[in-house]
């Protein structure tokens, strides 16, 4: 009998070089994901890592697990299909704020309420980076540095964790790319928590939002014991400044999974057609 040595962070990284800018928060999220995978100690082939389109959605190709880089906004739908078809797999989903909350906003709401057992990381930088700097659903209304909305959007931003709570997500957390070990811990907790786990990671875009370099001054850890009641979590999040990190809600709804039990043969099914 051979004893398999535990996998390392390097084992979970691919040899594909990220397209991300130097200093982008997504590098740290990639590190956090690989650290989490080491911690989870799941065989590589049992992990499916799904994404949509955007800078951050490139992440599956940089890992060494099964992955699917789909179309813009539909990562959660692909991921639900994977998990519902193959309950034995560990399903991770990642993408940006535009992918998940704008074009994919409807799927986000339904993924929260459907509560399929998977873990979704939104790498939130409040900007569309791949298309060179447009406002996203999390951008402040008075951000005027986009040619597309030179006077700002004038539209209130989405608060992803509040949205997730309202829609029924079973585990909600926030991390900061500047603290990859904390993000890794949140991912591990999210994977272990049954049902749909949502983790917002504040991941600075140093190219189009250089002011986000200052986020490290703003983030602060939340309370140790996360609320288990929606009302309590709601109350706390109502006055949250958007920079509280840690687990913000840990519910106990059972995960959704259709039961599979063979109770009939094809011949039984076909009997109904015989006249």
């Amino acid at each position: 009998m051979t004893i398999q040595s535990p996998l390392t962070v390097q084992d979970f990284k691919s040899d594909v070089k990220p397209i991300w800018c130097p200093g982008c928060g997504d590098h740290a999220v990639l590190l956090a994901v690989t650290k989490a995978l080491v911690e989870l100690n799941t065989p590589r082939e049992q992990i499916a890592f799904i994404s949509g389109i955007g800078c951050s959605s490139r992440i599956p190709a940089y890992t060494n697990v099964y992955g699917f880089h789909g179309v813009h906004g539909r990562a959660l739908a692909i991921a639900a299909g994977v998990k519902l078809a193959r309950p034995d797999l560990t399903v991770l989903v990642a993408g940006g704020d535009g992918d998940g909350l704008s074009i994919g906003g409807n799927h986000f709401m339904h993924a929260c309420r459907r509560n399929v057992d998977m873990t979704y990381v939104i790498m939130d930088n409040e900007v569309y980076g791949m298309t060179k700097g447009q406002a996203s659903p999390t951008t402040a209304p008075d951000w005027c540095n986009s040619k597309l909305t030179p006077h700002g959007t004038g539209v209130s931003p989405v608060e992803p964790v509040r949205l997730a709570l309202a829609a029924g997500a079973n585990f909600i957390a926030r991390g900061f790319a500047g603290n990859p070990n904390d993000v890794a811990r949140l991912i591990v907790e999210g994977v272990h928590h049954p049902g749909f786990s949502f983790i917002q990671v504040l991941s600075p875009c140093v190219t189009y939002r250089p002011e986000q370099r200052e986020w490290k001054q703003s983030v602060h850890a939340g309370q140790d014991q996360p609320p288990q009641l929606v009302a309590e979590a709601m109350h706390r999040l109502a006055s949250d400044d958007g920079f509280t990190t840690g687990v913000l809600f840990a519910g106990n709804r059972p995960a959704f999974m259709p039961e599979r039990k063979v109770t009939a043969s094809f011949a039984d099914i076909e009997k109904k057609f015989a006249s």
Partner: protein, 570 residues
């Protein structure tokens, strides 16, 4: 006596026209006949006008006839909305209940015979009696369908409702039968059809569901849409009982992507929709092309564009099914040519999608999807999902490796050592994103080549008959074409039918072979802009004179229209 008779039963919601039609069809099956029932419904959720259009035959049929031998309106409510769908001839008979008023001009204009039958009064004399059962008794007697067969069906169907309900219905049937004795005669069914063979009663949508199941579909994501919902509603319990799973998605964008996920994870996967849903799915069908993810999308076509005519049929999604994907995106499009063929076409599509690692679109339509047919039990065809997979830990595994067939082994999550990232970005053989011209060309060649090189056997088209005239058609319009060619043959006009089942990829060599010696081509389809004709022109060489019969839905194309064209060409 004719080999078939056609009956139209109409009425407002609650009049029981659909129920009577269903029982009539079941009774015909019980008596050993074949049959076809289509329905014409208004858009109302409940209580709208409805017509059950039943054709009973001593031979298998897949087409409506030119006119109805018998029209039984339980009332005249909203009849003008679909009187164009109820063609009658001078020998047709209308059983009109005097209590419901005069025959409306839109029906009287056909010049059919009219006989008075007090349906409501007769039913009223029987406690718990219903006019539709009186009408059914009269119809059965007039067309020569044994009342015993109708009673046998009722006994089975009303078993749970108790003796009283059955007795009332039987009394109504008998009252109708007695009343019919004094009525003018109509065409009668042949006394005895084919022996005692087992008949099936199935709708096209159910047949598509069964084809999916037999083909090996294990995962379905569903979003309801008329007229495809029955495919999904049939599959939901069938999958649950046989170890598969169906999940309702939030929209068609989700359902197609869930199916992509299910298939990527290793299960043969399918969704069903109609035109508006197919429009929403096209981007992700392109993703399945690029990522070489097998899946099946059933499109049950309805009148378009936009919301169009959701409850009625048209062959106008051909263009979007063939050309709707952006980029060069070769995929499979298969069209069943009858309600019965929905089974084979769907099952074959599952096989093709899995073997070729490609999306396959099944182009059904409302006319066949929501038709019920009485047929011989369909034979097993043996087409099942078989996906080429690599060995575990395949050395140097490359998901998109260039192979002779163009099909590369597809690793499934759980297989150690073969993990890869599927991608809608253009990629190299390994799957790593690449924008290099050489990788793009190699992968485009691969994806097109694998479809082209495959042997589709004889199933690419149904070819029948011979002659210098060829009728090229597809989909549910094949039924009337087949019937018209049969009639023409009996009159000495020889024509060949080529009904395309495999729309994509095209089969130019096979078509050229099929068109050898053909001097005239008649194209028959149901679209306003001649989508099929233009498709043929774009991909095939059509010899000699070409004539097109093409008009939009919802009026079905009838055999006589095609027969007339053939006769004119003799």
């Amino acid at each position: 006596m004719s080999y078939s008779i056609s009956v139209a039963l109409t009425g407002s919601g609650g009049a029981g026209a659909m129920t009577a039609g269903q029982i009539l069809l079941d009774s015909a099956a019980q008596a050993g006949f074949y049959g076809l029932m289509t329905r014409s419904m208004g858009p109302q959720i409940r209580g709208g006008e409805a017509a059950a259009l039943v054709r009973i035959s001593s031979v298998p049929i897949s087409s409506l006839d030119d006119h109805y031998d018998l029209l039984v309106p339980f009332d005249w409510g909203n009849i003008n909305r679909f009187s164009a769908e109820l063609p009658l001839s001078s020998s047709s008979l209308i059983l009109a209940d005097p209590e419901q008023g005069d025959v409306p001009p839109s029906i009287a204009g056909y010049g059919a015979r009219v006989a008075a039958l007090p349906l409501k009064a007769l039913a009223g004399a029987i406690p718990g009696g219903r006019a539709n059962m009186v009408g059914l008794g009269a119809v059965a007697t007039l067309i020569g369908l044994p009342i015993a067969s109708v009673i046998a069906v009722l006994t089975k169907q009303l078993a749970r409702k108790g003796e009283e309900v059955l007795a009332a219905s039987t009394a109504c049937l008998e009252a109708g039968a007695q009343a019919a004795a004094g009525l003018p005669s109509v065409t009668k069914l042949p006394s005895q059809p084919h022996g005692e063979a087992l008949r099936w009663n199935i709708s096209g949508n159910e047949a598509a569901g069964l084809g999916a199941l037999r083909g090996g579909i294990k995962f379905v994501a569903a979003y309801p849409i008329t007229p495809a919902t029955e495919v999904l509603e049939w599959l939901a319990p069938a999958l649950e009982k046989t170890g598969g799973a169906l999940v309702q998605a939030e929209d068609e964008l989700a359902s197609i992507n869930m199916v992509i996920g299910g298939s990527f994870a290793g299960l043969p996967s399918l969704t069903a929709t109609s035109g508006p849903g197919l429009s929403l799915m096209t981007e992700s069908i392109g993703l399945a092309v690029a990522s070489e993810t097998p899946l099946v999308v059933i499109d049950v076509m309805r009148g378009g564009p936009s919301t169009g005519i959701p409850t009625k049929s048209e062959q106008s999604d051909l263009n979007i099914a063939v050309y709707g994907l952006h980029g060069d995106a070769p995929h499979v499009v298969v069209a069943p040519n009858s309600a019965t063929d929905c089974l084979f076409a769907t099952q074959w599509s599952v096989h093709l999608a899995e073997a070729l690692q490609t999306p396959a679109i099944v182009l059904s339509d409302q006319a066949m999807g929501q038709s019920r047919v009485v047929i011989d039990k369909p034979a097993e065809n043996g087409f099942v999902a078989q996906r080429l997979v690599p060995e575990a830990d395949a050395p140097g595994y490359q998901r998109y490796a260039l192979t002779n067939s163009g099909v590369s082994p597809m690793a499934i999550p759980g297989m150690a050592g073969n993990n890869y990232v599927a991608d809608g970005l253009e990629h190299n053989e390994r799957g790593t994103p690449s924008s290099q011209a050489s990788d793009h060309l190699a992968q485009l060649d691969k994806r097109a080549g694998k479809l082209d090189a495959f042997d589709y056997g004889e199933h690419w088209a149904d070819i029948e008959g011979d002659g210098e005239i060829a009728v090229i058609t597809w989909g549910s319009v094949t039924g009337p074409v087949r019937e018209a060619i049969g009639r023409a043959r009996a009159k000495g006009i020889k024509a060949k039918m080529i009904s395309l089942r495999l729309i994509l990829p095209t089969r130019p060599a096979q078509m050229q072979e099929a068109l050898k010696g053909v001097k005239k081509v008649l194209v028959v389809e149901q679209s306003h802009s001649q989508q099929f004709h233009k498709f043929l022109r774009g991909h095939y060489d059509l010899p000699g004179d070409v004539l097109v019969v093409s008009r939009p839905g919802p009026l079905p194309i009838r055999p006589a229209e095609i027969e007339t064209r053939l006769a004119a060409w003799k």
